[in-house]
């Protein structure tokens, strides 16, 4: 084999966009001595020159991969004829006065290289066979930099240590990834004779993340069987019992002390979130909390399902890969729900540290929040866009407690046949793994994400990072939808957490299953049987197929070059049997594996914190404060992020995330039209406000529910078809004072769901979001509950947006403004938290939502926007600049509580359940009649003058700002 090296550069005169962005990031690091960066792509292609060129079915054409072919390849495939040029071999540093530093970034051995795979295919299309292809990136840094600066640049910007290797200088190249084949060696991990210390040591040494009681339970099981477990058996149990997979904390029994008063739950989740759904018993809920995603009815023929997942730990280590596989993973949830759904929308909600943090304030082992944010956004962008799924809704929150534990929530909604919402695997069905090959990536992801992060995790758990290839997933999706349409499989599951162990183990739970592990297609040789079973390599799904359908389903898969392999069958013996080359490596009782986990009992404490309201002097004018809030990271425009997502692919968009006269205002919820032949729509939204949780997580959770619902109502969603999802991200819940707030939030979920008659249909939790710094300090995230919501829209043509529409239209506010500045952005800009957290009046809030929804459906509303962060003043400003029209408002028209007398409270209070509604003068009577008996008032009108004026008591303006200044303040922070 000869190795050919191609370097592809930009031609002089054509901009090196990639090099330029690297240079910008180097400057952001504070290194100013680099003058220019040139980037190049390196292709390392191994080929045997003696292998003749072949065209399938034709005679050999000339010699193989010779110099002539190499030149053709460089010119026709690897290089753009206009902008680029190639060099065969290793190019020298450019001549000139500036000192040049050469850095090459190669993928670590075993890491998937999708570009290399495509190049292999393309070379085959050209009629030649290549042995192996690898790609790398080369950077030439011009300027005087020290070795330590080079090292910083390589580590912080150019490469990710988890998956990439850096070569500095000119000569060396990492070795090729040829690996030795695996030779079977069955390993036992003796457990029967261990004492408690020994059990804990075993769990720790093997990264099982099992506690003593669990280890004792396993020990007892093996004592009864009178044998020692194999490594793969313990790994399978650890994965099945991981927090990530069974949510043992949320299902545990809890003894809770609320300000000294004792409350007991036998099963926390069952008695709170689930219970609301059970009591509401909506007949349009088809499948809730049992499958990968919650399923509700859409119309006579179709159902929609929704799932939101987190991918926090991996995104902390590798923001790009972590978030990409987060979205890739959650897309497979609807794909694996029932007999499979077609993904039609993505949602993304992130929490980061503030992006302007100083480098020296970042703890060791933690990436800078700006780098995390850019990487996370790029990962979601590249995966979601390539899958052809519109990303329609999201939010980003900033708080320094997310510095070491960024939160990455990814959601996906799927459309499915209403009659295919349940699966039915049977004994005798074949187990087929479809899609990507299995590699070492993602080993221990499920157990890893159940533990805490430390400054050493970067090195210890680098193998837990998974590598995504969206095109493999898209190909798999295409063929699975075809197979589903003609009914060729009985059950489907995705390989997510726990890999094949999770997917096959779960699917065979009732029946029993046997798998021949050597049959699983591998990315490269050398994996042992345990690695094959627990690898979380991406883009794989498992289907259960009747033997008589095998030929037909394989024809569909083969027809689009999707790999699919029979690896075993469902047995009916209720056992998990794993073999490698015919030798048994595991035999476990399904019942023990799935039901044997000891029940947890946990203690939780909630003490109402003793907080006070700050005293901030009243002012005559609040222009400055409004601008400051508009410029705060949480409120500011996220256009920089939103535009990088394709939010219109599939052609289903109705209300886009950016709305208004210049397509840049902050839309409330999104609306899509899932079916080409129907005007029925789906509204999608979210709500979250971790700052309220610092005062009381009960009200935080209710505020999240109210906000998510407001966002649905504002765009025209029905009030009686709202489905909710919960995602709890918490710190270490073995600490009673951390679990206490979670219990409070779960209680609020029950109360909110019952009050709005909006059942929870799916949920997920991610606990242990804590970080141990090198000096021993512990950083825990704030209690963070994301509420996602969706509802139906009967006729998309009735939808409205939040931008002010027409001068002389009237503005109303529905909902009472209270003295509730606790946790508000107004207090935040004063460095205060406060005490008066916004509450939700559970009796009035659903009524208001219902009436607004009805008014919109009746066509009485020109625009509608809710009051959230920053309160009334921010909402009015947003409506005005989004519509390009002025607003003149008067606080005397505001329906308010008796103690809400201060002007700043009226302007910035974040009281829930408030909607600002624009109504044409001709619709005044009809609208007012509809709002009768609700707190509502006329607060102003839309004007031609491009100014926001808010008047108070004596008719004097307390805010007067032109639209340009308002919009500029709002857009400036993320004008990246």
């Amino acid at each position: 084999m000869k190795q050919w090296r191609f370097e592809v550069f930009n031609r002089a005169g054509f901009a090196d966009v990639h090099g330029a962005s690297v240079l910008e990031e180097i400057k952001e690091l504070g290194i100013h001595s680099v003058e220019a960066v040139q980037s190049a792509t390196v292709f390392l292609i191994e080929a045997d020159p003696s292998t003749p060129r072949l065209r399938s079915g034709q005679a050999a054409l000339g010699t193989g991969f010779d110099k002539d072919f190499a030149r053709r390849l460089g010119k026709e495939l690897l290089t753009d004829p206009v902008c680029e040029e190639y060099y065969i071999g290793r190019s020298r540093a450019p001549a000139g006065l500036a000192k040049a530093t050469l850095i090459e970034v190669h993928l670590k051995s075993g890491v998937t290289d999708p570009v290399a795979e495509s190049v292999m295919t393309a070379i085959a299309d050209m009629g030649v066979e290549a042995g192996n292809v690898r790609t790398a990136r080369k950077y030439v840094l011009l300027g005087d930099i020290t070795p330590s600066q080079t090292d910083t640049i390589a580590k912080k910007i150019l490469a990710n240590d988890c998956i990439e290797e850096v070569v500095i200088g000119n000569e060396a190249e990492p070795p090729s990834s040829h690996l030795k084949p695996y030779e079977l060696q069955i390993v036992h991990w003796p457990i029967r004779d261990l004492d408690d210390d020994g059990l804990i040591a075993l769990s720790k040494e093997k990264d099982l993340f099992l506690n003593l009681v669990e280890m004792q339970t396993i020990q007892k099981y093996y004592q009864q069987l009178a044998k020692e477990p194999t490594d793969i058996e313990l790994e399978a149990i650890a994965q099945t019992w991981s927090e990530h997979c069974v949510h043992k904390t949320l299902k545990s029994s809890v003894d809770m002390s609320i300000d000294g008063k004792q409350v007991h739950f036998d099963n926390l989740l069952k008695e709170t979130v689930f219970n609301a759904t059970k009591e509401l018993n909506k007949k349009w809920c088809i499948s809730v909390f049992v499958d990968n995603a919650g399923v509700v009815e859409f119309d006579e023929d179709s159902a929609v399902c929704f799932k939101v997942e987190t991918h926090n730990h991996p995104s902390a280590l590798d923001p790009y890969g972590g978030s990409a596989t987060g979205i890739g993973g959650v897309i497979r949830d609807p794909m694996g729900t029932g007999l499979g759904a077609k993904p039609i929308a993505n949602t993304d909600i992130f929490c980061f540290g503030e992006p302007d943090k100083k480098l020296e304030d970042i703890p060791k082992g933690v990436l800078h929040p700006r780098r995390i944010m850019k990487g996370v956004v790029a990962g979601v962008r590249d995966y979601g866009n390539r899958m052809g799924i519109p990303t329609v809704n999201g939010a980003i929150y900033f708080d320094d407690r997310y510095l070491a534990n960024p939160l990455v929530y990814c959601g996906n909604i799927g459309l499915m046949d209403k009659h295919k919402c349940f699966e039915n695997p049977q004994s005798g069905n074949l187990v087929i793994v479809v899609g990507g090959r299995t590699g070492r990536d993602g080993i221990h992801g499920a157990t890893f994400s159940s533990g805490q992060m430390t400054h050493e995790y970067e090195t210890i758990f680098s193998h837990a990072v998974q590598i995504g290839n969206p095109i493999t997933e898209k190909k798999m999706l295409d063929v699975l939808l075809q197979a589903n349409k003609v009914g060729l499989y009985e059950a489907i599951a995705d390989c997510g957490a726990g890999g094949l162990s999770g997917a096959v183990g779960e699917m065979g739970k009732e029946l029993g299953v046997e798998v021949n592990l050597e049959k699983v297609p591998l990315k490269y040789a050398g994996l042992n049987y345990t690695e094959i079973w627990i690898s979380e390599a991406q883009e794989r799904m498992v289907v259960a197929v009747k033997p008589e359908n095998l030929e037909a389903i394989m024809k569909i898969f083969d027809g689009e070059n999707v790999q699919a392999t029979v690896i075993g069958k469902f047995t009916g013996d209720k056992k998990l049997t794993l073999r490698y080359n015919g030798q048994e490596v595991a035999k476990l009782d399904m019942e023990f594996l799935h039901e044997g986990i000891p029940k947890y009992s946990r203690k939780a404490v909630w003490k109402t914190p003793q907080l006070t309201e700050p005293s901030i002097p009243e002012k005559n004018n609040y222009n400055k404060q409004l601008l400051q809030i508009l410029s705060s990271y949480n409120v500011a425009s996220k256009e920089w992020v939103i535009r990088q997502y394709d939010h219109e692919v599939q052609g289903n968009s109705v209300v886009k995330p950016l709305v208004g006269v210049n397509n840049d205002g902050p839309g409330d919820g999104a609306v899509i039209k899932p079916k080409f032949d129907s005007d029925k729509g789906l509204a999608i939204s979210c709500g979250m406000n971790p700052m309220y949780g610092d005062i009381d997580p009960y009200w935080m959770a209710l505020a999240g529910i109210d906000e998510a619902i407001r966002n649905l109502i504002c765009v025209g969603g029905r009030v009686d078809r709202i489905a909710l999802l919960d995602n709890f991200c918490w710190g270490d819940c073995t600490k009673p004072e951390t679990l206490g707030p979670l219990v409070r939030a779960a209680q609020a979920c029950y109360d909110g769901a019952i009050a709005f008659e909006a059942p929870f249909i799916s949920g997920k939790d991610s606990l242990n979001n804590e970080f141990s710094c090198e000096d021993g300090t512990q950083i825990s995230i704030p209690s963070t509950l994301l509420i996602s919501a969706m509802s139906l829209v009967d006729d998309i043509k009735t939808c409205v947006t939040m931008d002010a529409k027409k001068a002389s239209n009237l503005l109303f506010i529905v909902g009472e403004t209270k003295n509730e500045l606790g946790g508000s952005h107004y207090y935040k800009i004063h460095g205060q938290l406060g005490a008066n957290v916004p509450k939700v009046d559970l009796e009035t809030a659903p009524k208001i939502a219902g009436k607004i929804s009805a008014a919109i459906a009746d066509g009485l509303v020109a625009s509608c926007h809710d009051c959230s962060e920053g309160g009334l003043a921010v909402a009015l400003a947003e409506m005005a600049f989004a519509g390009g029209l002025g607003i003149e408002a008067d606080l005397r028209g505001l329906p308010k509580a008796a103690d809400c007398s201060r002007i700043d409270t009226q302007l910035f209070s974040e009281s829930n359940s408030r909607y600002i509604v624009e109504v044409e003068p001709g619709n005044y009577d009809a609208f007012a009649k509809m709002m009768l008996n609700l707190p509502f008032g006329q607060i102003g009108k839309v004007t031609e003058e491009k100014t926001l004026v808010i008047k108070a008591r004596d008719g004097k303006a307390v805010i007067k700002l032109d639209l340009d200044s308002l919009k500029q303040a709002w857009q400036k922070p993320f004008d990246w």
């Binding site: 206009v82 299309d125 209300v655 409205v800 027409k806």
Partner: protein, 270 residues
């Protein structure tokens, strides 16, 4: 009237096939999404159709460069049937990734290898993928897909959409020979900098046609504006002051013109 049959070519990573099929059906064609493997297996299959659309997406992940791997596959497996298709007077439309494929195969701007090596599509000046709406002004009267004089409004969604020529002379040649199908303009029809020209294309080029006027490639997505409610400001335009304006709701959405013209052309000429 003859049945108009349109093929929407699928391949690994293509993802705008369904809505493109829908847009063609709305225009009156009988449309079908077909995987490229079927065309390679049966080289005669293409003969059944009169319109072929290369839809948007990320064919083969846009590895190496956008559209490059799929273009390479077409060059080595489908050159002959595709050339015959064009020579027979049939229609070819490439949208977004499909446009990139047409340029990278040399089908656009066409006319032999001199232009093939002188025109390309590369990374946006902004260095990132962007989804935004743009106004397009038609530049030629001879491309059968285009309604002369009608400025249209469509979304772009791409990271590699900057049309580049080897030099200014080639740009002038494209203009002189009528290859420029659409330019990016502002609402009033004037050319401008980013974001009016969203990717930095030379000469504000948004789409190209070949010398026959029967091949069109463009970066914006006409299939994403075939219903009034896909317009980003439909709730302002079609509900004047908040009240629905039925008259405007029934006006053709801009993207339909391209599909309607294609179907009408086939109905008239085949």
């Amino acid at each position: 009237m003859a049945e108009v049959r349109a093929i929407v070519l699928r391949a690994a990573g293509i993802n705008c096939d369904m809505e493109t099929e829908y847009a063609l059906e709305q225009a009156g064609a009988k449309a079908e999404c077909v995987h490229i493997n079927r065309l390679i297996e049966d080289k005669k299959l293409l003969e059944q159709f009169q319109i072929i659309v290369f839809p948007g997406g990320f064919s083969y992940g846009d590895d190496v460069a956008a559209g490059k791997i799929l273009a390479n596959q077409i060059i080595h497996h489908l050159s002959e049937p595709l050339q015959k298709f064009i020579d027979d007077g049939k229609l070819v439309l490439g949208i977004c990734n499909g446009f990139q494929v047409l340029v990278k195969t040399g089908i656009l701007p066409g006319n032999g290898s001199a232009k093939q090596e002188a025109v390309t599509i590369t990374y946006n000046d902004s260095g990132k993928f962007e989804d935004r709406w743009v106004y397009l002004a038609p530049q030629t009267g001879k491309c059968i897909f285009i309604e002369p004089g009608r400025q249209i409004y469509l979304p772009i969604a791409h990271g590699e959409g900057k049309v580049v020529t080897k030099d200014e002379a080639m740009l002038e040649e494209l203009k002189a020979e009528g290859h420029i199908a659409f330019k990016y303009v502002d609402e009033n029809g004037e050319e401008g900098d980013y974001p009016i020209n969203p990717n930095g294309s030379m000469g504000s080029i948004a789409g190209l046609t070949d010398s026959t006027g029967r091949v069109l490639g463009l970066m914006p997505h006409p299939e994403r504006h075939v219903r009034p409610t896909q317009h980003p400001r439909w709730s302002r335009l079609y509900k004047i002051g908040g009240t629905r304006d039925e008259g405007r709701e029934t006006r053709d959405a801009d993207g339909t013109t391209i599909f309607n013209n294609a179907v009408k052309y086939i109905q008239k000429n085949f």
